[in-house]
């Protein structure tokens, strides 16, 4: 019994020892677990803190310093890839002259730039000077939100010396007139850097090959159709090319003809909703595109062509005519320096009204109204638009200078474009603006006409339907 008890006690003590050991092992392992959990949590949080720090540093490094500007540095945002080198050179000259550092920051393509500016406006991080890409309504929203400085006083100072430098049409695009529909305080809100207009260019060599006089391009619609057909017949090369995959370019030509066929007053009355798009004059405008398509005047694939491809086609002499803006001078120079071409107004359909083309300020700069260096920014823009700087910019980029006095030093083709600056108009200077959705329906409708999917009347009816819906929506 005793033996048994002893044995039992021994067993007990063994068990107790084992338990003790096990407990002690458990405790040790628990301690280790606790430690490793603590380490893991600490590690995770450490990683999080490091991540936040990196993100913070990146954000701070990437954001423009509007609120805490570096002493004497102006920051400018733009989208003009072809002008960056020239801008940098001008910035260097300005720093040399005035001791103010100017930094041009390029953001391209233009779509990405537009997004950046919108995001910066929403987060109040716009730079000292920037450009806005968009229509008048878009521009007005920026002004009304307090992101754009009123430059009227600076423009009018010293007997309006600054204001008088520019083409009036160029300045008008940057101006809000009295009683403008957007409710913006009247004034000048941006500085035009260069001007542009959109016309037709024609290939002189192809004219010669087809037996046409290269110095007298067609002035009337019928002459234009006949010339395009003749060139196609003799050379096998297509007539008109343009980037009509970008619908604003279709809108531009359609507006040219709307002004020519019905006059400005009726166009404005249509936008106001007083004249329907089903009016015979509008149907006639749409009919012109049907005629071009049916007569084989348009190059194949024009409805989905981007303007860069259209420019390439014209520069490579694969089309006799191109509908393009004055910026094309620089583009064609780069693509084919030997190209022999001339500039012509789109051929008239009616003699009752003048042929009006789109034009005005090409690119403009705005001053951030909330910038602490507002005055310095205005001073820089004043300097940038002086004759010497404008001539330099024009010579480097082949763009039409906004400063009238710089015109004496530009190329022949550019001067041809410049000669028609008085015939220009632009939706941004009209007293009323069309609903974007109506414009889209109108332009897409023209594409449908060109691909022979819809008749001009069908498109006119569709546009009118959308117009009525949009008007009803805005009244609600």
């Amino acid at each position: 019994m005793r033996i048994l008890n002893c044995k039992t006690q021994g067993l007990k003590s063994q068990i107790t020892n084992h338990k003790f050991q096990t407990n002690s092992n458990d405790r040790n392992s628990n301690d280790r677990n606790k430690k490793s959990v603590c380490n893991l949590v600490l590690g995770a949080w450490g990683l999080f803190v490091i991540w936040c720090l990196v993100l913070g540093i990146l954000l701070v490094a990437c954001s423009p310093k509007v609120k805490a500007p570096r002493e004497k540095q102006l920051t400018i945002w733009h989208w003009m890839t072809d002008r960056q080198d020239a801008f940098e050179e001008l910035a260097r000259r300005y720093e040399e002259k005035k001791g103010v550092k100017v930094k041009f920051e390029l953001y391209a393509p233009s779509d990405a730039y537009r997004q950046k500016v919108m995001a910066a406006a929403q987060s109040n991080t716009l730079p000292d000077i920037y450009g806005i890409l968009g229509g008048k309504r878009f521009f007005a929203s920026f002004v009304k939100s307090g992101y754009v400085a009123d430059l009227t006083a600076a423009m009018k100072a010293n007997k309006a010396e600054w204001e008088s430098r520019f083409f009036p049409k160029a300045l008008k695009i940057n101006e809000f007139s009295k009683d403008n529909e957007f409710g913006v305080k009247p004034g000048i809100y941006a500085v035009p850097l260069d001007v542009m207009n959109i016309q037709m260019v024609y290939n002189k060599s192809l004219f010669k090959k087809a037996g046409l006089d290269p110095e007298s391009p067609p002035e009337r619609w019928e002459e234009f159709i006949a010339a395009a057909k003749k060139i196609k017949g003799k050379t096998g090369i297509g007539g008109l090319v343009s980037g009509w995959g970008e619908i604003w370019m279709i809108d531009c030509l359609a507006n040219n003809y709307a002004f020519n066929i019905m006059g400005e007053e009726k166009v404005m009355a249509t936008i106001k909703g007083e004249v329907p798009y089903t009016d015979p004059a509008w149907v006639r405008v749409l009919d012109l595109f049907k005629e071009m398509s049916e007569q084989g005047v348009l190059v194949e694939g024009i409805v989905t062509m981007v303007n860069k491809s259209a420019e390439q086609m014209f520069a490579n002499e694969r089309a006799a005519f191109a509908f393009n803006g004055s910026w094309c001078v620089n583009v064609y120079q780069g693509m084919n320096p030997e190209l022999d071409y001339g500039v012509m107004l789109p051929p008239r359909v009616s003699s009752q009204n003048p042929m009006v083309i789109w034009g005005g300020a090409g690119s403009s700069f705005m001053v951030n109204a909330r910038s602490q260096q507002k005055e310095k920014a205005i001073e820089f823009l004043n300097w940038l638009t002086q004759k010497e700087q404008q001539v330099f910019l024009s010579s480097q980029t082949n763009n039409l200078p906004a400063n009238k006095k710089s015109l004496s030093d530009i190329s022949v083709v550019l001067r041809q474009f410049a000669d028609d600056m008085d015939n220009t108009t632009h939706p941004n200077i009209w007293s009323v603006s069309e609903y974007p959705l109506v414009t889209e329906t109108f332009d897409k409708g023209i594409q449908s006409i060109i691909i022979n999917e819809k008749t001009p009347l069908e498109v006119a009816k569709e546009v009118q339907r959308v117009k009525e819906r949009e008007m009803k929506k805005s009244r609600e």
């Binding site: 999080f48 929203s141 939100s145 995959g245 024009i302 086609m313 959705l437 889209e440 449908s448 691909i451």
Partner: protein
């Protein structure tokens, strides 16, 4: 217990914070914006309730057209693209020579940028000097069959061919993904099953139909969801080829959302479009998940 729960929460908190800032907050913001009329710039917005949703669902035929067009592209991707991917995966699974080389080649299109792919195909489809028209002309010359030369056209600008042409580009760009996933799925099927089937006298077709297909159903489900989500959200190829044209023939939901946001300055409306689109995609994905679970012989 409470201590342990607290510890667990402490673990997920960093990830949760990041997720909240970069995913939950924007998601809630989109919901908020979708009930406003806002141009994206003005500090003031106008509350319009469910008007944007009502307008999209009942009065925006272009939106629904863009949806059907994306569905057409998706259908081609689901059928032709995945069939091609499956055939190529089956061939590579047989241990053919240069199998790894083919894998690399097939995976090149998916890793290319959509814009680059679009530009390459723009050149192929070009109506004036495109490669496709050139070959059709050559074919017509060699065979003396005028049918081939009659096919010549500006493929992306012709309303009869524009959408299908875009769908083919998307198919070319996307089949490599399906190929890789399907190949991985095929390689996970135990070889013994095929050997046993062979012993039992099953031919190649029976092995494919009775072993490969049932065991590949979960993989088919994943590939289908990936294809649907990818093809419905097609954007870069459209932008670099047709821009949505001619007229509205190649518009897809993403191009419409961007048109509303950027062209028409309707930020709120664009957000509502995004939500409607998201809801449709989510529903389709859930249906496919359910379907593949139901068809999967190994599930439950």
């Amino acid at each position: 217990m409470a201590k342990r729960t607290f510890k667990n929460y402490l673990f997920i908190l960093p990830a949760l914070l990041l997720f909240a800032v970069f995913s939950i907050y924007p998601f809630i913001k989109i919901f908020q914006l979708s009930v406003y009329r806002w141009d994206g710039i003005m500090p003031t917005m106008k509350f319009v309730g469910i008007f944007n949703f009502k307008d999209i669902i009942f009065h925006n035929p272009i939106w629904w057209r863009s949806m059907w067009q994306a569905a057409y592209i998706t259908l081609i991707a689901l059928t032709l693209q995945n069939a091609l991917a499956l055939v190529l995966a089956l061939i590579c699974d047989r241990g053919i020579k240069f199998g790894n080389g083919y894998r690399v080649i097939f995976f090149i299109p998916p890793v290319l940028s959509g814009i680059v792919v679009g530009l390459i195909w723009n050149w192929i489809y070009n109506g004036n000097y495109g490669l496709l028209n050139h070959w059709l002309a050559q074919l017509s010359k060699w065979t003396h069959i005028s049918y081939f030369s009659n096919l010549e056209r500006a493929w992306l600008a012709d309303p009869r061919t524009a959408l299908t042409s875009v769908a083919i580009i998307n198919m070319w760009k996307g089949f490599g993904w399906g190929f890789l996933v399907l190949l991985a799925g095929l390689q996970s099927i135990p070889r013994q099953l095929y050997e046993a089937a062979k012993v039992d006298g099953a031919n190649a077709w029976q092995s494919f139909w009775r072993i490969t297909v049932p065991l590949m159903i979960p993989t088919f489900g994943i590939v289908s969801i990936m294809t649907i989500l990818g093809a419905m959200q097609i954007y870069d190829i459209i932008v670099s080829t047709t821009g949505g044209g001619p007229a509205y023939h190649t518009e897809v939901p993403i191009t419409r959302i961007l048109a509303a946001m950027r062209g028409n300055l309707q930020f709120g409306y664009a957000c509502a479009m995004g939500l409607v689109f998201g809801a449709i995609l989510l529903s389709v994905s859930l249906i496919i998940i359910k379907l593949s679970r139901k068809l999967n012989p190994l599930a439950g």
